[in-house]
């Protein structure tokens, strides 16, 4: 072990650059994994017992409220609710005439039914009562509350980017509740009364963006979805019904196959890292042919020489992994660094990705050390000492 460490320190610049290169590659890998996770988190949070009903043509087209009671009373549906994407911009005046702007997801929903369909969202009873009683009341996630420094009783003003008020003033809301979650769930959303939106907006009155329905039996998903779409077939507002996971995936696919792109970049980065590391280790191995021959002459076995050379490559890779993957884990998962908090409400490197980074580092270490180590294993001391 001492020999491995001392050999690494023999050329500190070269070792340092190789470790740094590995660390940068693994940092990039972990960042890409965090991005993929951020995009997929909605899919992962999906429930198998929920259906989403949207306009047959596009999510951007609206559906009439009148569909809701029909869906609610269909066989196989326990409860259903409707929602509309609000798309407002949070603005807060700052000293010096500047403005702080934040964007986060806001939904106008029929609160009692909508929240009942999402048992993951937890709201204290008394806050729920206050929310029900206030037409301008809203509930926000605890993470969003922390980000905006809001507490129950505070006000939130949003500039409507889709829905404008007749007088053009911002939409004002009273924070009546702050939700927490039972599991990994987006804690940066805001829900408010659909009635407040519908009674105030200037167009599309009585229209909603989608319906979400809870099934009595998740196994009947396909059958119930087909019946809903059949029920509204040939009407002015035909529907497309799918389970929540498929819906969220469709939402993701609007941005193209980002996962494939990210994974392609990650693979190229890792292959490059492997080539650089392998080249460095082969150079280091070749430089020490004589020393390996001397070790054998002194009585060290072929296996010892093999392990010394593999050990050096592994040490470089592990150091790179600690710096790269460990550093990224610290920055993102512990210190909660987020490149765009309003776009990625949940941004973290999954544990499995950290494990993958470590395994990639170990594999890179073994593969890059393998060529010099096998050469060391096969080295004939007599020939090597004669040749040098």
């Amino acid at each position: 072990m001492r020999l491995i460490l001392l050999n690494l320190l023999r050329s500190p610049l070269r070792t340092g650059l190789t470790v740094f290169g590995t660390a940068v590659a693994l940092t990039l890998f972990c960042l890409l994994e965090a991005l993929i996770n951020a995009f997929n988190v909605g899919v992962d949070m999906s429930s198998a017992s929920r259906l989403v009903v949207m306009h047959k043509e596009s999510l951007t087209l609206l559906l009439p409220e009148s569909h809701l009671p029909v869906i609610r009373h269909m066989d196989g549906i326990r409860r259903a609710a409707s929602g509309v994407w609000f798309g407002g911009l949070y603005e807060e005046p700052l000293p010096g005439g500047q403005k702080r702007e934040e964007f986060f997801a806001q939904f106008a929903v029929d609160l009692d039914n909508y929240l009942a369909v999402y048992p993951e969202i937890l709201i204290p009873h008394e806050q729920m009562e206050a929310l029900r009683a206030d037409r301008r009341g809203c509930v926000i996630g605890d993470e969003l509350a922390r980000r905006l420094s809001k507490k129950v009783g505070d006000r939130i003003a949003l500039r409507g980017l889709i829905w404008a008020k007749p007088d053009g003033s911002p939409w004002e809301f009273n924070v009546r509740a702050i939700y927490t979650c039972t599991q990994t769930f987006d804690r940066t959303m805001m829900f408010f009364h659909y009635r407040y939106l519908d009674e105030t907006r200037q167009f599309a009155k009585g229209m909603v963006g989608w319906y979400v329905a809870e099934l009595t039996d998740p196994n009947r998903c396909a059958e119930v979805a087909a019946r809903i779409d059949e029920r509204f077939a040939n009407s002015p507002f035909e529907t497309k019904t799918m389970n929540e996971k498929a819906f969220n995936m469709q939402f993701l696919s609007m941005m193209g196959n980002l996962e494939l792109l990210f994974r392609f970049i990650g693979t190229v980065v890792i292959l490059t890292m492997l080539l650089i590391s392998a080249n460095t280790m082969m150079m280091a191995g070749r430089e020490r042919t004589r020393e390996m021959a001397v070790l054998k002459a002194l009585g060290f076995s072929d296996g010892y020489v093999f392990y010394v050379l593999i050990g050096e490559a592994l040490a470089v890779a592990v150091l790179g992994a600690i710096l790269g993957a460990g550093g990224t884990w610290l920055g993102i998962n512990v210190l909660e660094w987020n490149p765009k908090r309003d776009f990625f409400p949940i941004f973290r490197v999954p544990d499995v990705s950290l494990l993958a980074a470590l395994l990639i580092a170990l594999a890179t270490g073994i593969l890059s050390g393998l060529v010099p180590a096998v050469a060391g294993l096969r080295l004939k001391a007599a020939e090597a000492l004669r040749a040098v």
Binding site: L3, E291, V294, A297, L298, G299, A382
Partner: protein, 228 residues
């Protein structure tokens, strides 16, 4: 004195491409325990090859090599390595110390193969450095030592495991005359005071004068022998 080294009809042929190079040609030889032998001869005569066979670093094409009572052809590569660690000390022309280790750590290195704890290893290494007169330089790395000092550290490394046989390949080849004389004096001391059997390969007639027995090789054949 019993023979510590016995070669019986040993031949060594190297193959390079399609060519076969006869390096040692049916050599038979005995060296007694405690002897000091110089192997001499022109370049390419087979001196180093013979030394490598005696040290178990190479195997003969035919014939039998017995050293310290062990027929080396019976041993696997791993067993040969272990046998070398226990019975043979090597000294090379270019010293071949590991540059990342201090003199003490270089001398300790062969002891890591022995069943000794760290304290014992250090004590043995310091004792070996004392024998070669470099106790005060033990924390220096090879790059901080003169050539003569490096070779003395290499000698300390060769004798630290208390081997019966010390083999040196051109031990003074890279040294100035003064350092060479010191190193040869030290090797002679190992032979006379510690009873080590010494075999050195050398071109240098001055170096050969320290030995009690000179063996001359020419074209892989023992051509003549001189005993003092």
């Amino acid at each position: 004195m019993p023979a510590i080294v016995k070669l019986e009809d040993v031949t060594k042929i190297y193959t390079k491409g399609e060519n076969e190079i006869l390096t040692l040609d049916h050599i038979s030889l005995e060296i007694e325990e405690g002897d000091f032998v110089a192997l001499m001869g022109p370049s390419g005569s087979g001196k180093t090859t013979l030394l490598n066979l005696l040290g178990g670093l190479d195997t003969p094409t035919s014939g039998r090599v017995t050293v310290c009572g062990q027929d080396l052809s019976d041993l696997t590569s791993r067993e040969l390595a272990r046998w070398r660690a226990d019975h043979v000390g090597f000294v090379f022309q270019s010293f071949n110390l590991l540059p990342v280790l201090t003199a003490l750590q270089n001398v300790e290195l062969p002891l890591t193969l022995q069943a000794l704890d760290a304290g014992e290893r250090r004590a043995h290494a310091v004792a070996a450095l004392r024998v070669v007169g470099l106790e005060d330089r033990m924390d220096h790395r090879p790059g901080e030592l003169s050539g003569g000092q490096e070779q003395r550290v290499a000698i300390a490394r060769a004798l630290v495991t208390d081997p019966r046989l010390v083999m040196a390949d051109e031990p003074t080849g890279d040294l100035d005359a003064h350092s060479a004389h010191e190193v040869l004096g030290l090797v002679e001391q190992l032979n006379e005071e510690l009873g080590k059997t010494i075999i050195i390969v050398t071109h240098d007639p001055h170096a050969a004068q320290f030995a009690r027995r000179e063996l001359h090789l020419e074209k892989g054949v023992l051509s003549r022998e001189r005993t003092r």
